[in-house]
Amino acid sequence: MPVITFISADGGVRAVEAVIGHSVMETAVRNGVPGIEAQCGGAMVCGTCHAHLEADFFDLAPAMEEGERLLLDCGDHQGPTSRLTCQVRVTEALDGAIFRTPPSQP
């Protein structure tokens, strides 16, 4: 199972085993990772599952669609590798990926 690491704004590190096919958001929520709120449970209407994907992995994640961009633009703490983790499916390619969660959501 791929291992995904979450680093919170205060430096806390959680490395979790992820299930292929789950979203990164689901992975965080199932493992009690702080910093991912997921108020809408993955429906892409809230923007509270935002995280920054470490640059090396950004191109390996499934491509972003327009709806995700729109919602990211509504949020805070945005950066060049921002993703809504509910829209990023876990694949083998993401083994070792690091997601940094922002100080607040969205």
Binding site: A38, G42, A43, V45, L70, L71, C74, D76
Partner: protein, 408 residues
């Protein structure tokens, strides 16, 4: 509460519902509901199955737990928003985007979301603060008021009008119309008043098409849906949902929260001394005093959550009970601003998560900040009942409070 139990029991219960799941509860006026509406509603957690079938009001399911409700409202394949009336009616209203399952809701939702983002909502803060301040101006010397009618029902109306670019000189008229609407009982009244509200919004739409201004309606008339201009019918539906969504919801969450606050002088003093605690207070009020129950219709015979559902069954998710689920929240019926912050279900979840949740939080926070700056400690006027209306929306009819005005 038990003013009138309006739903006569149905002649029978459908044969797909086992007897063990049947529990008599009248959402419009059950005898177990008291003036402590939420606490009394929460006794269902002790007495009824997690998911039960009430024979009242045409017969419908009730879902009372956080995890189960989350499942239902995310599973639009089996639980649709296309009908939301209990009991069911012919020609149910179509609200956009609230009555549309994904993906149909998304273009409308996406068009609106930027205007309800935290950033967009934060830009309204100075005006919202001014509204709160005016409301307090009008009551602070009086020593007594009805918090519902003089504060909580008035405040979100101004905010709505500001958001929509409605001329504030019409505040009194619009407020009266909104009050009439939310207090209407008969279907005729509701339909007639709804028509007048839509009529008002339509006048504005027409005005802003001619003369755009810097407000939400001016932007909405420019919306494109699937690459073509939005129609008047779609605009009217969206505006009506926003009217419904933004007013008595905020009014009643605030009113029930302040009803609690009136009984806790220590908490009042803490909020006055430490305004940084106000966001936690607001969040706990939202958790403890949700006022919306969200319905769905079952789209096909299925087994979900250990229950056999049949196509056409109505399912009511009791969001306030989801937010008071003891499996998620310690001491769920205690009001505790220091509790671990966990999202509650007051704004629901899934594709129809309340669009206005950021605005609702901001409104109640700002009201409380201004209140705490200026008002002394207050208490409930003794000997007065607090009657609530129950149903899809829970509303408290009046909340008389008293205080000793600060010396001039």
């Amino acid at each position: 509460m038990a003013d009138q139990a309006t739903g006569a029991p149905a002649a029978g219960v459908p044969d797909h519902v086992p007897a063990s799941r049947v529990f008599d509860f009248d959402i419009y006026g059950d005898p177990r509901l008291t003036d402590d509406l939420h606490d009394s509603y929460a006794t269902l957690h002790d007495d009824a199955p997690d998911i039960f079938y009430s024979p009242r009001n045409g017969g419908h399911w009730m879902v009372t737990r956080f995890d189960d409700i989350s499942e239902v409202v995310k599973d639009f394949e089996h639980f649709s928003v296309r009908e939301m009336q209990i009991p069911r009616i012919e020609n149910p209203p179509v609200f956009i985007p609230l009555s549309l399952d994904p993906p149909a809701n998304m273009p409308y939702r996406q068009a609106l979301m930027p205007f309800f983002s935290p950033k967009a909502v934060a830009a309204m803060e100075p005006k919202i603060r001014a509204f709160a301040s005016e409301i307090i101006d009008d009551i602070e010397a009086k020593g007594a008021c009805d918090f519902v009618n003089e504060v909580a029902a008035r405040f979100p109306v101004s905010v709505f009008m500001e958001l929509m670019g409605m001329p504030l000189d019409r505040l009194r008229d619009f407020r009266a119309l909104a009050d009439e609407y939310f207090n209407a009982r008969s279907n005729e009244e509701i339909v007639a008043l709804g028509g007048r509200i839509v009529g008002l919004m339509t006048e504005l739409v027409e005005l802003r098409r001619e003369k755009p201004a810097d407000d939400l309606i001016s932007k909405m008339v420019q919306f494109q849906v699937d690459g073509r201009p939005i129609t008047l019918g779609e605009l009217q539906s969206m505006l009506f949902v926003m009217f419904l969504g933004g007013m008595d919801t905020v009014t009643n969450v605030a009113a029930y929260t302040y009803r609690h606050l009136a009984t806790d002088k220590v908490l009042q003093q803490k909020l006055a001394a430490d305004p940084a605690a106000i966001p936690k207070f607001v969040e706990e009020g939202i958790r403890a005093f949700g006022v919306i129950n969200t319905p769905r219709i079952v789209t096909k015979d299925c087994e979900r959550l250990g229950v056999q559902f049949r196509e056409g069954d109505m399912v009511l998710c009791i969001l306030p009970l989801g937010s008071r689920d003891g499996r998620r929240f310690d001491a769920p019926n205690s009001f505790n601003i220091e509790r671990q912050s966990l999202t509650s279900l007051t704004f629901s979840t899934g594709p129809h998560l309340c669009l206005g949740h950021n605005l609702a939080r901001l409104e109640i926070r700002i009201l409380t900040e201004e209140w705490m700056k200026r008002m002394p400690t207050f208490s409930l006027k003794p000997g007065v009942r607090h009657v609530s209306r129950a149903g899809a929306v829970m509303a408290i009819e009046s909340l008389p409070i008293i205080w000793t005005p600060k010396a001039a």
